[in-house]
């Protein structure tokens, strides 16, 4: 997908007037947020578990080369193939090649954000191979020709009414008078439509929540079971995963899984946690004949050891966006690429550049809720600030804003000048605002007064009053 992060302000303007979106986002606090809070309370050792999970990832990242090599060797031993993809283009080419060799007409897909990152659907479609999303949320956004708006709930921006209307438009072979009032009825309809697609697919593509080095296993966590059908039924299974998904051992994977579902949906563990190691073995009742893993770098080794290193601990639970007031106001599409919310505000500029994604790390109040809930304790606000510093150094800060900041800083660094200026300006401003104690408009404060009144100063500054008081005594 072509990034639209540079158009963040325009995207926001659209989002803020989108009433169904507002309604849909309003549900997050009763769902994800409330459920995570409950899961956290129910597990007394949750905070210690966060530290353990963080330590697992820190250790892995410090020895990533070794664990990746071990992982590759184990996959090969199990009869699978590992393909190294330095860039998104490499990954697309590798996947298309595998699909062509398999003479694929349709490809089913489990939910994969790496698939979005490399825009695999468009690439396959161009080559006349039909990609079919099988995760319900992904299916919904695919039929609407939209990108996902959340990393674990791709269609969180949609209301039930919108889904019903889409289904009636698309599934025209089903009875017109069927009842689609309840979420369960919508799910049943999607399941019915997708069942045929599962059986017809030549290749199944899934992502991976974890890659386990000691066994060469890929792990997916899902709640719909679609991932299992995607990877078991077709003749060829392709796993696409980014390199930082690796963990050393099965035990380490368990540590991370224990914080993952709780942080994401508030579940103790997801409905399905599926471990896949290589293709079908002789005597296995099912499974693919070919098993491929495409390991994507796409800028991640550049992040290793950089000031954005900690971002590579991210396990894609989505807790940061669920708890972000900015995400909650504008939704995921406004961020303009694959990864929204606080994690996207750091990861997006890391992967596609600060020139395209400069708004993202700026559009944060630094309220710190993201870091407070992040199971991997990633210092997201700190890294957003580091991107602001990079932007500032590059001269990307808007000129008028920069000029204002420079003038302010010039005065603030000279307390006598500052106090002389404010000692003149503030009492004047107070006199102007005396009638109501506030301003409905004020020069250069249009952004503020467009939506709210500006409280007027009380009169003299504290420094003036304090010096007068001191002089008297």
């Amino acid at each position: 997908m072509k990034p639209q992060s540079h158009a963040f302000k325009a995207n926001v303007a659209q989002a803020l007037t989108n009433e169904p979106l507002k309604k849909a986002l309003g549900g997050i606090k009763h769902g994800f947020v409330a459920n995570r809070a409950k899961a956290r309370t129910n597990l007394p050792e949750f905070e210690e578990l966060r530290d353990e999970a963080k330590a697992v990832k820190e250790h892995t990242l410090a020895h990533l080369d070794l664990y990746l090599e071990e992982y590759e060797a184990k996959v090969s031993e199990a009869g699978g193939h590992v393909h190294w993809a330095p860039s998104a283009q490499n990954a697309r080419d590798i996947i298309l090649n595998i699909c062509r060799e398999a003479d694929a007409k349709t490809v089913t897909k489990g939910k994969t954000m790496i698939g979005e990152e490399i825009a695999i659907n468009e690439h396959l479609a161009k080559a006349d191979i039909t990609p079919v999303e099988t995760d319900l949320g992904e299916y919904l956004v695919q039929i609407r020709d939209e990108p996902p708006s959340h990393i674990i709930a791709p269609a969180i921006h949609l209301t039930k009414a919108q889904v019903e209307s889409d289904f009636r438009q698309l599934h025209t072979d089903l009875p017109i008078d069927r009842v689609l009032d309840e979420p369960g009825q919508l799910v049943a309809e999607a399941r019915k439509v997708l069942r045929e697609r599962f059986l017809a697919a030549d290749v199944g593509i899934t992502g991976a929540n974890l890659l386990i080095a000691e066994t060469g296993t890929s792990v997916i966590v899902t709640n719909e079971g679609n991932g299992d059908l995607t990877q078991c039924l077709p003749r060829v299974h392709i796993v696409i995963a980014s390199i930082e998904k690796t963990v050393p051992t099965l035990e380490d994977a368990n540590t991370i899984l224990r914080v993952l579902a709780r942080s994401a949906t508030g579940q103790e563990c997801s409905t399905y946690t599926t471990y896949t190691t290589g293709p079908k073995r002789p005597g296995d009742p099912d499974g693919p004949e070919e098993y491929h893993v495409v390991l994507l770098d796409n800028g991640r080794t550049e992040m290793l050891g950089s000031e954005f290193h900690d971002m590579l601990r991210c396990i894609r639970c989505g807790a940061c966006m669920n708890h972000c007031p900015v995400y909650g106001a504008v939704g995921g599409h406004a961020y303009g690429w694959v990864y929204p919310g606080p994690m996207g505000a750091v990861l997006t500029p890391s992967l596609i550049g600060i020139d395209e994604a400069g708004h993202l790390p700026n559009a944060s109040t630094f309220c710190g809720r993201c870091e407070a809930v992040c199971p991997m304790r990633i210092p997201l606000p700190k890294m957003m600030r580091q991107y602001r510093e990079r932007e500032y150094e590059k001269g990307n800060t808007p000129p008028l804003y920069k000029l204002g900041m420079k003038l302010w800083a010039f005065a603030a660094k000279r307390h006598r000048l500052y106090q002389a200026l404010t000692g003149l300006a503030i009492p004047l401003m107070a006199r102007l605002g005396k009638r109501s104690g506030r301003f409905r408009t004020f020069p250069l404060a249009g952004g503020w007064t467009r939506h709210r009144d500006l409280p007027a100063p009380q009169g003299k500054t504290f420094q003036q009053l304090w010096r007068e008081k001191e002089a008297k005594s």
């Binding site: 302000k9 926001v12 303007a13 803020l16 007031p325 900015v326 909650g328 106001a329 504008v330 700026n362 559009a363 944060s364 109040t365 630094f366 309220c367 710190g368 809720r369 870091e371 600030r385 602001r388 990079r390 500032y392 150094e393 800060t397 804003y401 900041m405 302010w408 800083a409 005065a411 603030a412 660094k413 307390h415 500052y418 106090q419 404010t422 503030i426 009638r435 109501s436 104690g437 506030r438 409905r440 952004g447 503020w448 467009r450 939506h451 709210r452 009144d453 500006l454 409280p455 007027a456 100063p457 009380q458 009169g459 003299k460 500054t461 504290f462 420094q463 009053l465 304090w466 010096r467």
Partner: protein, 262 residues
């Protein structure tokens, strides 16, 4: 025989007024002075202070932020404590200065020593000075907004509630989502005014639903944001810094009002 006072009995506190209190609402500064004096502190207000530098720091302008930070550290070097009536500024002083000035051994040591004695006002009163109650009266129902930096960087949650519970006549009713950001975010509300507005709208809805008469918080930036939105929405809500109520200094008109129309 009278007990000889040690510095710990009556420490000298440098009041970091904060730029917003200095300019917009000096009465909060005087309330802070009264509370600190009630807690047996000698309060001084160094002249060589302006702003903690947070706007520059959060805008990526590290050079200006560093200079402002060094000015502030120098201005408060002689005091036992530095206290600010703001969680956001106190977080800057105690958490971010060591980070900002950490790259050079000399400034790192000075920033660390400074950070170790820097506190937000209400948590200083309760946690350091052991204040358990205040001598104040406020007849009314209030609700309290937990400002983000105070809550999440400094762990300020119970301290203001504890002291508010001792104010005669005051009843605290918690609003929904008291811990969620009001959308101020310093320069954020200037850079992204429409997102800021969408966030503060949710906050004012929660404040209004609390059915109280008065909104309190410990940060003037957040208070100006919420007061400005409430008055634009035509709500009759008194908005004050928590220090004003704790000091019993509520004669001044509330934030964004002239006398009598709050």
């Amino acid at each position: 025989m009278a007990k000889i006072k040690t510095p710990e009995d009556s420490p000298t506190v440098g009041l970091f007024v904060t730029c917003l209190v200095d300019l917009i609402r000096p009465s909060v500064g005087f309330a802070a002075v009264k509370l600190l004096e009630d807690a047996d502190c000698n309060v001084e207000v160094p002249l060589a202070q302006t702003c903690c530098g947070q706007p520059a720091y959060n805008s990526g302008d590290k050079a200006d932020a560093r200079e402002l930070a060094l000015n502030t550290v120098a201005a408060f070097e002689g005091y036992d404590y530095v206290v600010a009536p703001s969680g956001s500024c106190a977080g800057m002083l105690s958490h971010h200065y060591p980070e900002l000035l950490g790259d050079n051994p000399d400034t790192a040591a000075r920033a660390r020593a400074f950070a170790d004695k820097a506190y937000e006002l209400v948590s200083f009163l309760v946690d350091v000075r052991g204040m358990k109650e205040v001598d104040a009266e406020y007849m009314g129902q209030v609700t309290y907004h937990d400002s983000c930096a105070g809550l999440r960087e400094l762990g300020i949650k119970d301290q203001p509630r504890k002291l508010l519970a001792s104010v005669q006549g005051l009843k605290l009713d918690e609003m929904e989502e008291a811990e969620i950001c009001c959308g101020f975010g310093g320069t954020f509300c200037i850079k992204y005014p429409d997102i800021s507005n969408a966030i503060v709208e949710k906050k004012t809805a929660n404040i209004t639903a609390s059915k109280t008469d008065c909104l309190l918080a410990g940060d003037l930036g957040c208070l100006m944001n919420m007061a400005g939105k409430l008055s634009r929405e035509g709500r009759q809500m008194e908005v004050r810094h928590v220090a004003e109520v704790l000091a019993g200094m509520t004669d001044e008109p509330a934030i964004g009002t002239k006398g009598g129309d709050s």
